[in-house]
Structures are given as C-alpha cells and as structure tokens.
C-alpha cells in the first residue's frame, strides 16, 4: 500500500509531517510513504530527525511548488501544477498511490482532490466526513464543510457515505444515521432538512430520524448528517467550546491554593479528558465521494495527528471504502 503525503502542507510542515511519517513507518506493516515536496528541504528535515531513508518505508517524491494557507484554493490549484498538494493527488489518480493525505490549505486540498480524482458516479457533492468524539465513543459527521449549500438529495448521499465509513473504518455494526435538526419530529427543521428526512426514511439505512444539537456529543447515533455550513459551525464550535471550558477549568484551578492542590491531584484525569477532545487522536477527515481516497488533516497537525491519519487511511484502503461507496451508490 502506498501513501502520498503532502509533506509541505500544514502549519508545522515539513518537520512534523515527516516525523509523523517516521512514526507511521515504525508502527504499520506493508506500507510505503511517499513524502511529496521540495527534495532539498525534505532531505534536510529527514537528516535533522536522524532518520535513514535507505531501506526504510519512506521515499521522497520531488515537487517544486507549495500552496500556502492564505492562497485562494481554486486559483492556487490551477496555477501550481507542481505543488506538493497537486502532485500528491496526481499520484493517486495515476495509480502510484492509494491515498493522498494533506494538512495544508483545506479549500485547496478539497479542490485538488475534486479536480484530480473526480467524483464517484451518482455523487454530486463529495463531503468531508469528520470524526466527532462523544460520550460513548466516536461518530462521524458529514458534511463538515465542503458544501455550504446543499439539496435534500445531497444529504441522503452523505448518509450513505457516512454509513459505509462508520461500518468499515470505525467498525460500527449497522451504524445509526441521525439527521441534525431542531426538533425530534419529522416535521421539524428548515425546508432542506424536512425534505431530506422524507428521503432518508425511504432508504435502507439505519435511519433513526432527527437528532438535535444537544444530542451531538451524547452518542445517540453514529453518523450525523447535515449540510456543510451547519457541519462546519458545529465542528468548530465543539473545538472552541472545549477549549473555552478548559480555559475556565484552568482559571478555576488557579483561584486558590486549595483549588491548585485539587488541580494537581486531578492532572492525570484531565489528561484523559483532554485526549478525548483532541483532534490529533483521529488525525484526518476523509473526503468521501471521490474516485480515490483523500484525507484532509487539521492545519495544526503534529506528528501524532499525521500518524493517526495514516492509520485511518490504511483501514479505509483495506476495507475498500471508496469501492464500496461506488458500488452502493450505483445500486440506489
């Protein structure tokens, strides 16, 4: 299995990306990781990490350009044909790799994959499937931001793709699909959601009906379906609220000597709590609905996040997620 890793994409690239690849190469069998980016820069970083390329699972694949975080996605992707991101996507298109992984400019990563890999027949709108930790484990939410405006049919396809991902990669049997709305009844919601509810009820998905905002982190379902605007707000809010709460907890701990002692005694427990909210645990979000697998990572990804993204990618490839989406969608 071959993994094309955009080694120049991300706030901490190329250093942490390469370290992530090294970690992955030590943990996972039967893989080859193509580090795509400026050969000279990558070699310098690899040397810094005191890693020996020769005989390892890592290989440098030269690409002369870089797409920055601030660049306009479509413009940059079309202009920079030899950027690490575009080249990494091309490797998948040409069958030289099984997945492309990038922590770079999210819009550009989506555009590059969409333009290079193309959509699965029957899927108009590929979606970002983001993992959401909940009280019972982890679920998947889609779309997390690829499509700000959707139609009811799009939402049905998100349900299908999410269901396949949850079953194959998260190993959840008969995953429960919930439609994010503002009331439990099928008649509650905006026009989009009310129409999507009707369509979802007719599929053979394990559709449990509407869920509400308060259910998102409860784990009442395994797949949360919503449009990309709502999904992106929800995802970023979960991040922001968790971090706001931690700030408050820290402040609470620092109010008195007594509370400081309490915080000290609790520090290991908070670590567990923190880990469960930590995006590096899950690594990357797959862009589903393309003729090839593309994983999009958080811009701030560190080595651990990259390693975990590679882990999820390996699972998705072994389970033939892309092929199963093609097959299922063709049958609908």
């Amino acid at each position: 299995m071959r993994i094309a890793l955009d080694a120049m994409g991300g706030d901490q690239a190329p250093g942490e990306i390469i370290l992530g690849a090294i970690l992955a190469s030590r943990s996972f069998e039967n893989i080859e990781i193509l580090l795509v980016g400026d050969q000279q820069k990558l070699n310098t970083e690899i040397k810094k990490a005191e890693f020996e390329l020769q005989g390892s699972k890592l290989k440098v694949w030269h690409a002369s350009e870089v797409i920055n975080m601030e660049e306009h996605p479509a413009v940059a992707v079309k202009k920079k044909k030899d950027s690490s991101l575009v080249v990494a996507n091309r490797l998948v298109k040409e069958g030289k790799a099984d997945v492309v992984i990038s922590a770079g400019n999210t819009g550009a990563a989506m555009t590059a994959s969409l333009l290079t890999l193309g959509r699965v027949k029957g899927i108009n709108r590929p979606a970002i499937a983001s993992l959401m930790p909940n009280l019972k484990g982890v679920g998947v939410l889609l779309d997390a931001g690829a499509n700000a405006d959707c139609d009811p049919e799009n939402l049905v396809k998100f349900g299908i793709m999410g269901s396949i991902y949850a079953e194959q990669v998260l190993e959840i049997t008969n995953p429960r699909v919930g439609l994010l709305s503002i009331g439990e009844e099928s008649t509650k919601g905006n026009k989009l959601v009310i129409a999507a509810h009707e369509l979802l009820a007719k599929t053979d998905l394990n559709f449990i009906g509407n869920i509400e905002g308060r259910d998102i982190n409860k784990g009442v379902c395994d797949v949360i379906v919503c449009d990309g605007f709502v999904g992106n707000v929800v995802l970023k809010m979960a991040e922001g609220l968790s971090s706001a709460l931690f700030t408050q907890i820290k402040e609470a701990i620092n109010t008195s000597l007594k509370s400081k002692m309490g915080g000290y005694l609790l520090r290991d427990s908070f670590k567990i709590l923190k880990a469960s909210l930590d995006h590096t645990e899950y690594g990357g979000a797959p862009l589903l609905g393309l003729n090839g697998l593309s994983m999009i990572c958080h811009g701030s990804s560190n080595a651990k996040a990259i390693k975990n993204a590679i882990k999820a990618a390996i699972k998705a490839i072994n389970q033939e997620v892309t092929g199963k989406i093609m097959k299922y969608v063709a049958e609908v």
Copy 2:
C-alpha cells in the same frame, strides 16, 4: 410595572414558577406579578409555600385551560383561548401587563405572542434572542429558533434588534455584531450569509464581519447573528456539550482516590464554572420584534430561572427595548 407570568407553563409548573415569583417579589421593587392559571391549583401551591397573598406583590389571575408541552403550537393556541399562556399574552395586548413570561411549550409561547401582540412594523420575523455565556461575559445570539428558514433581510433585522437588546439590557456600549459563518472573509458562507454580510456592512451597526463556530464562546462579539436553524443547533449543542464535559469531568474525578481528593478540593471552583454555563442564571430569552415584550424560558426552569427572567424583563421594560426597536426599525 406589571408582569404576566404563565404559572402553568413549564416542566416544574406551577410549584417552581410560583416560588420564582415569590423570590422576585422579595427582590424587586415597584412590581406586581400576575400569576395566570387555574385559581384553585395556584392557591393550593401558594398555601404550600406558606406565602401570604394579601398585601403582597403577587395576584392570581384565573385561566381555566393549560397548553401542554406536547401539543401542536398553532392548534393549541387557537383552540385554548382561556389557557394560562394565551390569557397572559392577552393581558399585555390589553395594557394590563408590561411583559408576558412563560416556561411552557416554546412553540406555543412564540405563536401566542406573535398572534396576540403582533409584529413591529418593518419586522417580518420576530426572533428569539438567547443569552450566550462566553469567556469574557455574556452575549446575545439571535435567532435561537423562531425562524428555521430566513432571507438576508431577516438577518439584518436580527442584528439591529440584538444590538439594541445588548446595549439596553446587557449594558454593552456600542455592541459588536458578528455574522456566524464558516470563514472570516466576506465571501465565505452559504448563499444566505454571503448576501446578509453585504447588507449588514451597509448598516450603521458596529458590524465586525463574519465569526466562526470556534469564536462563539470566545466573546469576540456581543451579538451573534444567524438563522433560527443554525442558532437552535448552536444553542442546544452548547448545552449538550457542556453537560457531556461535566459528565466526563465527574468520571475523571471518580477514577481514583487521588483524583477524588482533587475533585473535592476543586468543588467550589467547579461551582463557579457550572454557574457560568447554567441557563437559570439568565432566566429567559426575549422574543424581539413584537408590539410588546414576551420572555420565553427553558422548559426546565426552576424558581431561580423564573426570578432571573423577571429581573431581565424589568430591565428591558425600564429601558423601553420594545419602543426602541420600533423607533430604530422605522428609521432604517
């Protein structure tokens, strides 16, 4: 000042509603609270609370019917003309009260106020303005659920009404208005939000542009503008995520003797943290844009929540919020 309180509305009605009125009567000057509901039931509860109506600020106003939590809002409001909710709204319409407060069926409370009080000229869609605690204090989010589908013009009016409420009731000078979207740039968002951004930029509001999900609890702005679908998801998610985090913290505390001791030493600090997330602190959300003031409370409201809703209502009345919205909207 007269307050019409729907004494039969809410999960804990009439007991906690009456206790809230009693608390308010002891805390606030120059008010009279009309407890609207079944005379016999209310008198029994008042007796239970060992409260002496005679000479107090409380008065029972009989209404023979009750709208339940499960009833269809529009149907129930139209059918039950002598329900506590409808009667309480009528008291405002007829000038016998300055505000109506209800913790009952939210949809019915909105419908009753909309049908009874009517809309301010220039406002097509009244909005629920919900208070959102953030790291720097408290802001207001609207619409929190009254309008699932909106047009750009509606969002502009939400900004205006929220700005007036933040200035007059929350005492925030020149409140910053933010538009909830999925990117900071004016071109980011769905069609609705991109169009609303353009319109908001032309008003003389203190419009700071788009904010993202992660900013909601940071306190980067004082008024958060969004449609009622997104607002309701956000509001309920904040509730759900906070409670999920507390569950996790509790579990973390209970993992070992050491962490239990830590939790014990931190207990006072957690109280502060909890209070800041507690909806009873803020009591009620005003339905803005009507010819009269209506406050909608959480279904689970207890006495403290009712007291705080009355407190917010007193401020809104003293600051003539309704009149100011009418005046400002007429000028736009």
